[in-house]
């Protein structure tokens, strides 16, 4: 029974594919997997938008959306029909393209943003045996594909012929390239310790238990530091608050998608959230044990439940941080990437190497944790420049 529940989607896909003639099977298999990924993550996107609005509302002591339910009935479903209404609205809205815009590139940008994000899902293992393609360089493939979104962002900003969208795109490029460095360096530690770039092998390396406790990478000093660095960089990569400068509406209206309306705008929105899901899925795979259970006695729960549970937990954490932290300034953003994230990520690589070669025991823990905590404290103090927290003085405006 446990086995059946765990593999239900895999067996369902096998049965569906098996009912076609043999020459069709590779194509049908691909279509079934891709369609299910698009459907599942599309629905998750819709639900997340409502959850996000409700959660941020509650953080600000408001209700958030609680009206739209099933159409033509009195069922309100706590407002969870909102995303369907929003989708219909986006589909029926007028699609305005500026006269001066570069029409072809303006049209292609949202599509080009969406495609790599969906492609990135192909190497994320959603459960036991549930990965679309298991390639040896899965992690590399993920980041390589993810980097393609930067091109789409700049296409959107450039083709709109709007100073705000160009500024937004420039900010987005600067931010995404800067944070790609710590993002990849913080995930290298996992590759170093596991000795494989395959996402499936990385999850399998964390699937053991000692007693009840799992062997997730986040429960080691280098894994914990790597996880935190990865999360911060992931937030910046997916343009989430507090790193949402590319669309800071108080400064540059809506950033690179200012000239997009109707369904194209919805596609940008979709791509942004799907990017967040993909990168959270990668964080779960690299540091939180992928689809493995958090306790040995909970191993009977289907593996995909754990994966999506962890994914949603990370998404909720992102929403929580969005509701807490105000937007950074562009110089603060850059300083943070190059003066804090990058050194810490580089130190973390040394730490992972140390962990690999020291004998297991308490001494290894102390040494590795110390190697991370000391630079963290020193960097924190050093970057603040010894200035006490005080009222700001202004150079020009008095």
């Amino acid at each position: 029974m446990t086995e059946f529940c765990d593999q239900i989607f895999v067996s369902l896909a096998h049965w569906l594919v098996g009912s076609f003639p043999a020459s069709w099977q590779p194509l049908v298999s691909a279509v079934v997997s891709v369609a299910s990924i698009i459907a599942v993550f599309g629905l998750l996107f819709g639900i997340t938008t409502v959850v996000e609005r409700k959660m941020i509302g509650r953080i600000q002591n408001r209700y958030g959306p609680n009206r739209v339910g099933l159409p033509l009935t009195d069922f309100r479903l706590f407002g969870f029909g909102q995303f369907m209404a929003d989708g219909i609205k986006a589909l029926t809205k007028e699609d305005v393209v500026p006269r001066a815009a570069d029409k072809v590139i303006h049209f292609l940008a949202p599509l080009l943003l969406l495609v790599p994000v969906f492609v990135a899902f192909s190497v994320v293992p959603f459960g036991r045996n549930m990965v679309l393609i298991d390639i040896d360089a899965g992690v590399l493939f993920f980041f390589a594909v993810g980097a393609a979104t930067e091109l789409a962002v700049f296409m959107a900003g450039w083709s709109s012929r709007n100073k705000y969208s160009l500024l937004g795109a420039m900010r987005a490029i600067a931010q995404m390239i800067s944070y790609e460095v710590p993002l990849i360096i913080s995930s290298i530690v996992v590759v170093m310790v596991v000795g494989s770039l395959s996402t499936v092998k990385i999850v399998e390396a964390q699937a053991d238990f000692s007693g009840q406790l799992p062997h997730w990478h986040v429960f080691t000093p280098w894994g914990f530091a790597g996880f935190i660095l990865f999360l911060i960089a992931a937030m910046a990569e997916s343009n989430r608050s507090p790193f949402d400068l590319p669309e800071g509406e108080s400064e540059i209206v809506a950033g690179y998608f200012i000239e997009y309306s109707g369904f194209k705008f919805a596609l940008f929105f979709l791509a942004e959230y799907l990017g967040m899901f993909a990168i959270s899925g990668m964080a779960v795979t690299l540091f939180l044990g992928g689809w493995t259970a958090p306790l040995a006695m909970l191993d009977w729960v289907p593996s995909w439940v754990w994966f999506f549970g962890k994914l949603m937990a990370l998404v909720l954490l992102f929403i929580w941080i969005r509701g807490t932290v105000p937007r950074l300034r562009i110089d603060q953003l850059m300083h943070f990437a190059w003066k804090f994230m990058l050194p810490m990520a580089l130190i973390n690589i040394v730490d992972a190497g140390l962990w690999r070669f020291l004998p297991p025991g308490l001494g290894r823990w102390v040494a590795c944790a110390g190697l991370l905590v000391v630079p963290y404290v020193l960097l924190g103090k050093g970057l603040a420049g010894g200035q006490p927290f005080a009222k700001r003085s202004y150079r020009y405006a008095e």
Binding site: G323, K339, L379, L383, G385
Partner: protein, 234 residues
């Protein structure tokens, strides 16, 4: 460089990191401010489910706040008694029509007259229209009315599917009783009533005095007989 060197270095140091600034209450750990902030938002999030009075939102169509006495939105016409026609205080003097800044009032004077609250025959509006889509709720019509006939309403749910005819209110739709006026603006209505009854009493006293004076004059005028000598002279 126009910037003095010590100011520049101080400012760049201060600008280093927003996150260090948040966490830097007298040299504490980096990131501490974020943790404090996260705790605060978590307290708000959970508190909004536990404590009812945290959520100050009034869910409008189902729940609503009691109308504020000082609120005002669009004007209405006051009538005394039960008959909106007979009791209408407006005498169609057209001052409000002339004073209205956005020109949203349209009045046609009647041909005949009807008695007002004192009993004096007055004109009344044959047509009195207010376009509420034009009205800017300035209350100038109320300020200029010498007859306390036009007052501000607190009604605000005037949305309509017909944006031309539906928002042009005629005198039947505008007329509201003095009791309704008392309900929405009790203090102001009591003051107006006092003023009107004082005026009415004054008018009655004057009428009485006039009548007495007339009677006295009549009495005084009656005894002297006509001088017969004058008649032949004319």
């Amino acid at each position: 460089m126009r910037t003095p060197p010590e100011a520049a270095s101080g400012t760049t140091r201060r600008c280093e990191l927003a996150i260090t600034t948040w966490g830097l209450h007298h040299g504490f750990m980096l990131g501490e401010g974020i943790v404090k902030g996260l705790a605060e938002t978590a307290r708000n999030f959970i508190g909004s489910y536990v404590e009812e009075d945290r959520l100050t939102t009034v869910q409008y169509p189902e729940e609503r706040l009691p109308a504020k006495e000082a609120a005002r939105n669009f004007p209405f016409l006051v009538f005394d008694g039960n008959d909106p026609h007979a009791g209408l205080r407006c005498v169609a003097c057209q001052i409000c029509e002339k004073e209205c800044p956005p020109q949203c009032i349209y009045i046609e004077k009647s041909k005949d007259k009807k008695p007002d609250y004192v009993g004096k025959p007055q004109f009344y509006p044959a047509v009195f229209d207010i376009d509420v889509s034009v009205c800017m709720s300035c209350q100038i019509c109320v300020e200029v009315c010498p007859f306390e006939a036009i007052k501000m309403d607190t009604e605000f749910e005037l949305s309509n599917t017909d944006r031309f005819g539906g928002l042009l209110l005629n005198k039947h739709q505008l007329a509201k009783s003095n009791e309704a006026y008392h309900k929405i603006h009790p203090t102001e209505a009591a003051e107006v009533d006092g003023r009107l009854s004082a005026e009415k009493a004054k008018a009655e006293a004057k009428a009485k005095a006039d009548a007495e004076a007339k009677a006295a004059a009549a009495k005084a005028a009656a005894p002297p007989p006509p001088k017969p000598a004058l008649i032949p002279a004319t």
